[in-house]
Symmetry: C2
Subunit: 290 residues, 2 copies
């Protein structure tokens, strides 16, 4: 069976802009919910992201930070593939799939304060496609270049359609000076294909520093002209929901304050992964649960 | 003759905090001026910097940008030591001493809209200690780690006292997302010595990426606790004045928009350079005019 690829990428020597074929908000317009306000839903549809402050209490966040530290300091866990270090230091940059070895993070993936919002927007039951804690340590946290997550998940993991939402839970202050998430509002409605082919086992380096699967500078300039950039500054305990195709990135962090966030990706059950559209072998389970 | 070193640095294996021995504002309190308001003067004294918007017109700034491009594109000038490239690309990151080979920049160093402000604050005639254009290109502009300029100018150039002011003229939008100047307000009243000794010819690498003469992380954490961080967001044509000892740095720039600023350092004539306090040979004239 040949499946038509609606979102081809990394197949060509020039970038293509493709209109989004999928809804952003899957719920019927005006469908009642207590999970989100109508204004929040409209804003998510328009901008491709939504920032909600004060969702988690200071005590809860302290708890998640302690659990992070316990994991990061564990010498036995530390050798697992799930632990990613900064390119120029040995400091833990990300922990993948913490919910598979921490009960606290497992429970958090089920928290109705996030799940109900996501399930409303996607109008379906969801599962965890990817989970990680992004530590971005102080003094030496490196930037993360512009990308659409969907582009990677489609090409490298075989996610068929745009029916997934990322949920960030802020564990420290996210300020403009410590490498906050930066988003291009409205960019989720265009799909910008990337130039070039993906090499095998690309994920091993790309988690530390990206080289492939990044948009070209000309496309980014045009998107920036159209959308601008919004810096997602917010206090600890906030939730940032963003569509899988929203163009985003983050600057380096030379400030003394780490910018640490929990990152869960919820995918609609009907949107389960197939064979990667780029033709490479599937990435390991801790990066893309199947 | 032995000159006592009031601000020793890079001599020890631990950092020392020394109280500032010098005034911040040298003008007599309340001395009349049309160059600055009393509020601006007080703010500069307290925070160690001052942001003034709309000092230069859009036409003037366009003119300086064109002149920058002309210089950056000149293949003959491009090989000069004054032209500094980004560590990982060949893009021009800084041009030093442009006022020595560009009439436009030479004239700008004399502009009363900046000179009168600086001469009031330092209560003396001044000269250019250092001049540069900091280009910080889009997509790949690298961060500049925390430092007090005075620490370097004292140790490597022999600047005796804190009686110099840096003046930034913004040539593009300076946004929090394109690597704006970040300052720690109030940090100019403490001198934080750096750990370790300076190697010979250190400047050749330090202009591209710093390794020596940077404060230790513990001191930066303490300073941050006390002072916080302010991001100097402002439109093109603004002027940012900051004291030579204000702790500052900047993040990387992955946004498509370059963050380009003209940077002049004015030193009081009575504060002319002596032999470097660190005991190394003086740096070349284009970095520290004598």
């Amino acid at each position: 069976m040949v499946i038509e690829d609606l979102y081809p990428s990394r197949t060509d020597s020039t970038a293509r802009w493709i209109d989004r074929h999928d809804p952003v908000v899957y719920a019927k317009k005006g469908a009642p919910t207590t999970a989100l306000t109508q204004q929040q839903i409209e804003s998510f549809e328009k901008k491709g992201f939504l920032i909600i402050k004060n969702v988690f209490s200071a005590e809860e966040i302290e708890d998640y930070n302690e659990e992070f530290q316990r994991l990061a300091d564990d010498p036995i866990l530390g050798v697992k593939e799930e632990f990613i270090q900064e390119p120029e230091s040995r400091i833990v940059r990300s922990i993948f799939a913490a919910h598979t070895f921490s009960r606290k993070y497992q429970a958090l993936t089920e928290d109705p304060r996030i799940r109900k919002k996501v399930e409303y927007l996607l109008d379906e039951e969801v599962y965890i496609h990817q989970a990680r804690i992004n530590a971005k340590p102080g003094f030496s946290g490196k930037e993360f270049y512009w990308h659409s997550d969907f582009e990677t998940w489609h090409v490298e993991d075989g996610m068929p359609r745009m029916r997934a939402i990322s949920c960030l839970i802020t564990m420290t202050e996210n300020k403009s000076y410590n490498g906050s998430l930066m988003l291009m509002p409205g960019s989720h409605k265009k799909y910008v294909s990337c130039i070039g082919k993906t090499p095998e086992n690309h994920y091993k380096n790309s988690l530390r520093r990206q080289k492939y699967g990044v948009p070209d500078e000309e496309s980014l300039e045009a998107l920036y002209e159209e959308c601008g950039i919004e810096v997602a500054e917010c206090p600890p305990g906030s939730v940032i929901l963003f569509d899988c195709n929203t163009m985003h990135g983050s600057s380096s962090n030379i400030s003394p304050m780490p910018r640490r966030n929990i990152f869960f990706v919820f995918n609609a059950k009907s949107n389960r992964l197939e064979a990667p559209f780029g033709g490479t072998s599937p990435r390991p389970d801790f990066i893309a649960h199947r």
